[in-house]
């Protein structure tokens, strides 16, 4: 086999359908790369090598017999270890659940399997999707393949690393304040947080029910769209999905932007103690690029980023403590220091605080909706600064700096992070593309067009 690096899902699907690529070879390629590179990157907590080989042979056989299920058939995909997999250990990154083996698949896993995807393994995540990067955790943080000394983002860290390093073709993460988009940005990949309720949370460890969003992560926006198309849709086991249906077809993605109106949100990143000059220059360059592709680009102002951040942090802290209180109280010594501190803080919030935050949330949703009256989508910076050294991360940093991914958890809007270049030290930069709820296809279409027009998808980390 000539392949040295996994292709995109779209390319692999095309070759599998044409009979020029076998799922068996694809799985072997990923397993070989995991064996070679993951001891240094630590992105996988568990690899289903034998099972994946067996499933790849079954998929190849099915496809040979003319029973191709779709574009994910035979594609190796890995999952954040907060997503339940029947008969496969699922730890939520914690010693508390080190031996936990669920009896059922999460709804999205069942959908991936029905689409023919091969579940390659379980990926490192911050403990309970919150407590990282903690050096005393059950699973040490996955390492950024662009520079192993810097933070890989989280909490879906393993997913970001595995995609960037070519250790699987697609991954599913979860995002409560940015946990899909932060590792996507720091690893130079694409990560999509769908509209709230578009993808079922059933079978996923809850961090903060009103903010949790599972979402796809891949090398390209097109691949994210392919995975989203397979996992989205109403689920009787998750009431948040009722009545939530994406507008417009996700596939095939239209790469034309003519006539699309895009607002550039500069007030999130341009100001004292906000984005670095390189971050803002990258946002401006992306806006120019999108204008050149035919979109009508204007500047738009949204409420102060701190308002969204404060609201998101208070709601998340309250709900997170409520969800995890039993084991935090009973066995606090079994969780990392980061997890303990961040979770315990939520115990000090009062009902009044939580309810006021939910009320402000509604105000912010209305203000965001009104500001977007004349645009189809908005773009803003992906992160405010490059990833810091992993050993320098402070336990409560997220209370001391505004979080540019938080507005879209709070408002439930779809938001896609795409690579928008590299900074002077060679680390990836990113922008976010967001739209009104249910307009996931617009985000992915803009991301797809942008990735096709820019050279960033041609650059991979040197391992």
């Amino acid at each position: 086999m000539a392949l040295e690096f996994p292709p995109t899902i779209a390319d692999a699907a095309r070759d599998i359908a044409a009979g020029t690529l076998s799922p068996v070879d694809l799985v072997e390629l990923c397993l070989a790369r995991i064996a070679q590179f993951d001891p240094g990157l630590r992105s996988y907590l568990l690899v289903r090598a034998d099972e994946a080989r067996r499933e790849a042979r079954a998929a190849a056989d099915e496809i040979r017999r003319g029973l191709l299920r779709g574009k994910l058939h035979g594609i190796p995909i890995a999952l954040k270890d907060a997503i339940d997999t029947a008969g496969v250990r699922t730890t939520i990154g914690s010693r508390v659940f080190a031996d936990r083996v669920p009896t059922h698949d999460a709804e999205l896993v069942a959908r991936l399997k029905r689409a023919g995807a091969i579940i390659l393994g379980k990926l490192e995540c911050h403990e309970f999707c919150l407590g990282g990067p903690a050096l005393d955790a059950f699973a040490p943080p996955a390492r950024n393949p662009w520079n192993i000394e810097v933070y890989a983002g989280g909490s879906s860290s393993g997913a970001g690393v595995a995609i960037a390093a070519g250790l699987c073709l697609g991954a599913i993460g979860t995002d409560t304040g940015g946990s899909v988009r932060i590792p996507a940005a720091f690893n130079g990949i694409s990560g999509h947080k769908p509209t709230y309720g578009l993808v079922s949370n059933h079978g996923i460890h809850p961090l903060s029910q009103s903010l949790d969003h599972p979402g796809p992560m891949a090398w390209t926006s097109e691949d994210c769209a392919l995975m989203l198309a397979a996992i989205m849709g109403a689920d009787p086991k998750d009431r948040a999905t009722h009545g939530v249906q994406a507008r417009g077809a996700l596939m095939p993605l239209d790469a034309r932007l003519a006539g699309l109106r895009i607002g550039v949100i500069r007030n999130f990143s341009d100001g004292p103690d906000l984005g670095t000059p390189e971050v803002n220059a990258s946002l401006d360059a992306a806006a120019t690029e999108l204008g050149g592709l035919g979109a009508k680009v204007t500047t738009l102002k949204l409420p102060d980023l701190w308002e969204y951040t404060a609201c998101n942090s208070v709601i998340m802290s309250s709900e997170a403590f409520m969800n995890n209180a039993p084991w935090l109280r009973a066995t606090p010594d079994r969780v990392s220091s980061f997890t303990r501190g961040r979770m315990f803080l939520g115990a000090f919030l009062r009902a009044e605080d939580y309810l006021e935050a939910q009320r402000l949330r509604r105000s912010l949703i209305r203000a965001t909706r009104d500001a977007m009256r004349d645009v189809d989508a908005i773009i803003c910076a992906g992160m405010l600064a490059p990833p810091p050294p992993v050993t320098s991360m402070q336990k409560f940093y997220y209370l001391r700096r505004p979080l540019i991914t938080a507005p879209f958890n709070l408002t439930g809007m779809p938001a896609l992070s795409v690579c928008s270049g590299f900074d002077s030290s060679g680390l990836p930069l990113a922008i976010q593309i967001a739209a009104r709820p249910l307009d996931d296809a617009i985000c992915l279409r803009i991301g797809h067009a942008y990735e096709r027009a820019t050279p960033w998808r041609g650059r991979r980390p040197s391992l």
Binding site: D333, R340, F348
Partner: protein, 65 residues
């Protein structure tokens, strides 16, 4: 870094009443972070108009939504 609105001893007593087991260095760290949290809460409580927002919006939403 903003101060916690709770004196340390009150904070310690509250942690105990909440059933939290915390070693002293972590308690001090948490008390400091409580000040940061209080600063976020000030933003929320001071927001004009927010108090007029209902959550949930209506009994229909709560019952049938």
């Amino acid at each position: 870094m903003p101060d916690s609105p709770l004196p340390l001893e009150t904070f310690r007593a509250q942690a105990k009443s909440l059933g939290l087991t915390i070693a002293e260095p972590e308690l001090l760290e948490l008390h400091a972070a409580h000040g940061d949290l209080a600063a976020l809460l000030q933003r929320i409580h001071a927001h004009p108009g927010a108090a007029a927002e209902l959550w949930p919006e209506s009994i229909v939403e709560a019952w049938e939504g």
